[in-house]
């Protein structure tokens, strides 16, 4: 996260490969389900033996003594509808919810988050020197109206995407944050409105940031968890 600061985002998880290295973020939407992005995974039937999610700690690589850390193996990957670029990861066992680990809400189906809503992104990714890369960083971004964004991107905005406004200070996601949440405050609850996907440049000051619009896939998410 560029332009953020250490903070608490109890639904943000770190996804780690067999070497225990953090390589992408994710969001805990049910005790046993995490949402991330397809871009981070080699295939929809990848063998994820040895891959894990880490929750409940603010540190990217916590010491063994961190009392709240939970590390849970990933049991299965389910790819979302074709254009969604989303995946759901089923954990081998449910996460334990506490002050450090919480569920993020899912938006109603096809809900459009109003422009100007207070949102934030979170992750352990690259800070480009603007923060402490060993900690979870959180940055606030305001939602940009669909039409405005569509115009700013010269008509290249898809219906499956949502935008946040560029900030002159350069705030945004970067390497290692992909798959993490764009969480927006709605009715006093934090809702997973977007998922961070790679863009050509981090924290642009001259263009909106794009996220996958989760509400478009809320029915698929519920269906996967039900099935």
């Amino acid at each position: 996260i560029v332009g953020g600061q250490p903070g608490n985002s109890p639904w943000t998880v770190s996804i780690r490969n067999r070497a225990g290295m953090h390589f992408c973020g994710g969001s805990l939407v049910k005790e046993q389900w995490v949402i991330s992005t397809r871009q981070c995974f080699s295939s929809c039937d990848a063998d994820l033996v040895g891959y894990e999610v880490q929750l409940g700690t603010l540190f990217k690589d916590p010491g063994p003594g961190d009392p709240d850390q939970q590390t849970i193996p990933i049991a299965r990957i389910v790819c979302g509808p074709s254009e969604s670029q989303l995946v759901m990861l089923q954990l081998a066992r449910p996460a334990t919810l506490n002050t450090r680990v919480a569920l993020i809400c899912l938006p109603p189906e096809r809900y459009i988050v109003p422009a100007g809503t207070l949102c934030e992104i979170a992750g352990w990714g690259e800070t480009r020197g603007t923060g402490d890369g060993s900690m979870l960083n959180v940055a606030r971004l305001p939602v940009l109206a669909h039409g405005e964004c569509h115009a700013a991107l010269r008509g290249r905005l898809k219906e499956s995407e949502l935008c946040t406004a560029p900030l002159r200070a350069g705030v945004g996601a970067c390497e290692g944050d992909y798959g993490g949440p764009l969480a927006c405050l709605t009715a006093d609850c934090w809702v997973l409105e977007g998922v961070i996907t790679p863009s050509r440049v981090c924290a642009r000051t001259d263009q909106p940031s794009l996220f996958i619009r989760v509400s478009l896939y809320a029915d698929w998410i519920h269906k996967v968890m039900k099935m």
């Binding site: 109603p108 934090w190 440049v201």
Partner: protein, 459 residues
Amino acid sequence: HRSPLNDFQRLRATELLAAPAAPLLLLPEPGSAEQCARRCAASRTCRAFHHDRQGQLCQLLPWTQHSPHVQLQKNIHYDLYQKKDYLRDCIVADGTSYRGTRATTEKGLRCQHWQATTPHDHRFLPSPRNGLEENYCRNPDRDKRGPWCYTVDPNIRHQSCGIKKCEDAVCMTCNGEDYRGTVDHTESGTECQRWDLQHPHKHPYHPNKYPDKGLDDNYCRNPDSSERPWCYTTDPEREREFCHIRLCTEKRPRTPNITTSCFRGKGESYRGRVNVTVSGIPCQRWDAQTPHRHHFVPEKYPCKDLQENYCRNPDGSEAPWCFTSRPTIRIAFCFQIRRCPDELDTQECYHGRGQHYHGHISKTRKGITCQPWAAQAPHVPQISPITHPEAHLEENYCRNPDNDSHGPWCYTMDPRTPFDYCAIKPCSGNTVPSILENADTVAFEQCGRRDERLQLKGR
């Protein structure tokens, strides 16, 4: 510090089934796999043993899978350990320990039974200890040329069998990541440690954790994309060492399915020219050691195409990556490279949400065959012709009985994939409007709440 298991080859979840006529004389005894191996090595007749991991029991066996009237069978309760010497079809050192079943000479002559003294009389007679069985090639007198036998040709008394050395039997391509031969000594001759043991050296490469790296027994392997196969050694003073494996001389295999404008899977076949990270930092050249020292030297990885400073994936990481030109960032994934589409082409399209699609497509977008709607396996359906009689759930054709906004779907025949969308696309100009613009009508339960004080403290 060598484990007695070093002499054994393990087959997981497998048992040896012998013909009923051969009763097992020994009853199972308690013990770890290593204790079993020690007992088997001490026994004159034992050639293999079953190890019941759960019950910690072992059953010594006087035969192997190469013995007559014996066959392998899946059995999740046992791991089968067989003495390597009886399984190998190659030799170590001069082959005096060879116990394979080859019975012809290098010129193709049949071997004379050791028990027989015609056509050639001799003094190497079988005993319970010397392994002179049937008419198999053996090396009872440490002949430098390896195992030999008397021949059935009266004019040719004995001949070498020409059995290859193990280190030459199986060659390796590229950096040997796919090598699956049975060399189990390092280039200095030190014996390798088993991958499934943590002594004398603790290590992260557990066979269960890396199922695709072939980390069998104590054979040389290359799980971390080093320049060639290696192993942890049984010498406490030397943690790991390369092995000497012959490089295949025939033409280097072509890298399959090369892509340049996108990447497939982990991107190991990506050969495009993207040379910056997502955040726009130029990549470091692979043939440079600054600002980051590394071992991926292009000359040592000829198959990985480590040209210039292009994003590549020489080590099986999650995606193409590079060392960056910024001293503070050692590596970065090049996730901005697009993934190649990996779905089937679609012949048909559907209108709206496809609720009225009644075509005959019965494959998912990944090409998996659909499960019949009326079937109960591999997935027990929540939606069936009984629960949705009006939905035309015929055969295993793609349908949309629950008005899924992403189109027709089906349960699949892949046990790991309960359902998936089908190889059918929405007809063009077919969008479903988005709704719910004001937040007042929205309510949430048991989610999205956190201790905001923690947020403020930020510590």
